[in-house]
């Protein structure tokens, strides 16, 4: 037996885990409070403390238990729910409706979201302009900030963005965990290329029509954020598409398959992030010497990133979002977080420690605002 099987655990002692969690504790405190904690508002203070402690406990547990996915999923799902709640509350307060009006479009006041990015590139190159009615700088969810956040995240995490940064992914991740066993077990991995086809189509249509076609016609998450006011046949049809796709790909299919079907079969940004998986230093590696080809990792992968052939070849595909589900599922620890250049089976703990620090820091800070808002609203109900 090799070293991997002799020493399969990523667990750490209580003291060592605390030591590893300490830098995250300090950095998230500074980033979340902005370095200047304000304790004048009791509900706000409690919300910040709850968010801060909750996140750091999750990070500590990742080190202490050696498991990643279930703790990541908690923050990821809470992030998705919180963001939808924050957006809807914001819209109800400002517009008294979940829909945006024509005036919001004319005045370019629509909050920007990272899913628009694939449609921006061609028009930006040809027309030297952005085809989204939002604000370039300033205001809520402006284009510049969101572009920078996505650019850095995709450079650093690759498709890891889809499991550690996307504020929509938590929806189908959450629904995919509701059943213990899948009802639909066999889905051809041929379909995992669908997001690239969607990317191709939306990039062409958006460039030619100079409108973000995915947002206007397809995005299932419009159902839980904001959509165009229904004023006629066309806007009613759009609302119908948003709701149907949300129910089908984000709710029903994930429940039946235990897979993240929206992320796997539709999201064009997921396709772009898959390409940046080639650049990022972090990856998931398969140690062929330790692998007994049980293919449990193939079964649990929520994004169809692993096929039996991939496992036999000892390489994960570009679809991997580094969620950690396969890593946690492997009883022989043959599959693990790694850094490109380092051979599979070597420096496993070092690679995992760096990856967890980077990815967790990103999601912790990125999600904190929305989570604090939700917790604060809950506290306000009782205090």
């Amino acid at each position: 037996m090799d070293e991997t099987v002799n020493n399969p655990s990523m667990k750490k002692s209580f003291g060592k885990s605390l030591l590893y969690a300490l830098p995250m504790f300090l950095i998230t405190f500074v980033f979340i409070t902005g370095g200047k904690p304000d304790f004048s508002d009791p509900a706000g203070t409690l919300a910040i403390l709850a968010t801060f402690l909750g996140m750091n406990i999750l990070y500590f547990l990742m080190h202490y238990t050696g498991k990643t996915d279930k703790f990541r999923a908690i923050i990821f799902i809470v992030f998705a729910l919180s963001l939808s709640f924050t957006l809807i509350r914001n819209m109800l307060e400002i517009r008294h409706s979940m829909s945006f009006s024509q005036a919001d479009i004319v005045e370019c006041k629509i909050p920007f979201c990272h899913l628009v990015i694939p449609m921006m590139i061609l028009p930006a190159a040809f027309t030297k302009s952005i085809i989204f009615p939002g604000t370039i700088l300033g205001g809520f969810a402006n284009i510049s900030s969101m572009a920078v956040l996505w650019l850095v995240a995709t450079l650093v995490l690759g498709r890891g963005f889809c499991s550690w940064g996307c504020f929509y992914g938590g929806w189908d991740d959450g629904f995919s965990r509701l059943r213990k066993k899948p009802v639909i077990k066999k889905i051809s991995d041929y379909w995992r290329w669908m997001p690239f086809a969607v990317l191709l189509m939306v990039a062409i249509t958006a460039a030619l029509s100079l409108t973000p076609t995915y947002c206007s016609w397809i995005c299932p998450f419009k159902a839980v954020t904001e959509f165009e006011q229904v004023t006629g046949m066309e806007s009613a049809a759009k609302a119908g598409v948003f709701i149907s796709l949300f129910l089908g790909l984000v709710v029903i299919l994930p429940v039946l398959t235990r897979k993240r079907t929206q992320c796997s079969f539709l999201c064009p940004l997921g396709a772009m992030n898959s390409l940046s998986n080639k650049i990022t230093p972090f990856t998931v590696k398969i140690d062929k010497k330790a692998c007994n080809e049980c293919f449990k990792c193939v079964d649990v992968c929520p994004l169809f990133a692993l096929t039996p052939e991939d496992v036999k070849n000892g390489k994960v595909s570009i679809f991997c979002s580094k969620c950690g589900k396969c890593v946690d599922a492997c009883s022989r620890k043959a599959i693990h977080y790694g850094i490109k250049g380092i051979p599979a089976g070597s420096m496993k703990k070092f690679s995992r420690n760096i990856f967890l620090f980077v990815s967790f820091l990103f999601i912790a800070v990125f999600s904190s605002g929305a989570i604090i808002t939700v917790i604060k609203s809950i506290f306000n109900l009782f205090i």
């Binding site: 302009s129 989204f132 380092i342 051979p343």
Partner: protein
Amino acid sequence: MKKIKIAAGIFWAILCLLLILVLFPGLNNFSSGISRFPFMKINPNLTGGEAAEQIVMKSCTLVVRKPVFDGLIGERKQGFVQIDWRGNLPEIISDTIDYDLDKKPDFVIRIGRSESSTVLKPLNPKVRKVGISTPTSYGWSARIKIEK
């Protein structure tokens, strides 16, 4: 070679770690940096185009924007012209617009604000129909579809 690969991988990973560390404190600076790129401006099809003429009236200002025909490559045959009314608007807005500034009226537009009705009377064959007519935070805006 193996050692060089390992060192390069670790170096790139640590660089990424530093990048994430500076991302959030430096977000405002990075954002304003990226906003200065030449393509970081909203397409005229969405903004409504630049103002071509401003007419100050009794209680409000009428802004006639430059016609927008922008396409991916070159210009489209069909476009629109946006008209804004800013300030304290009367209940019924009625104006004659010369959007191409040739001193000849191109259309008459009449907006009933309370019932949100817009009636367009084209005086130029290039003027087609009303695209958008909506109350805004500053008053009212209308986009009239036109041909080149």
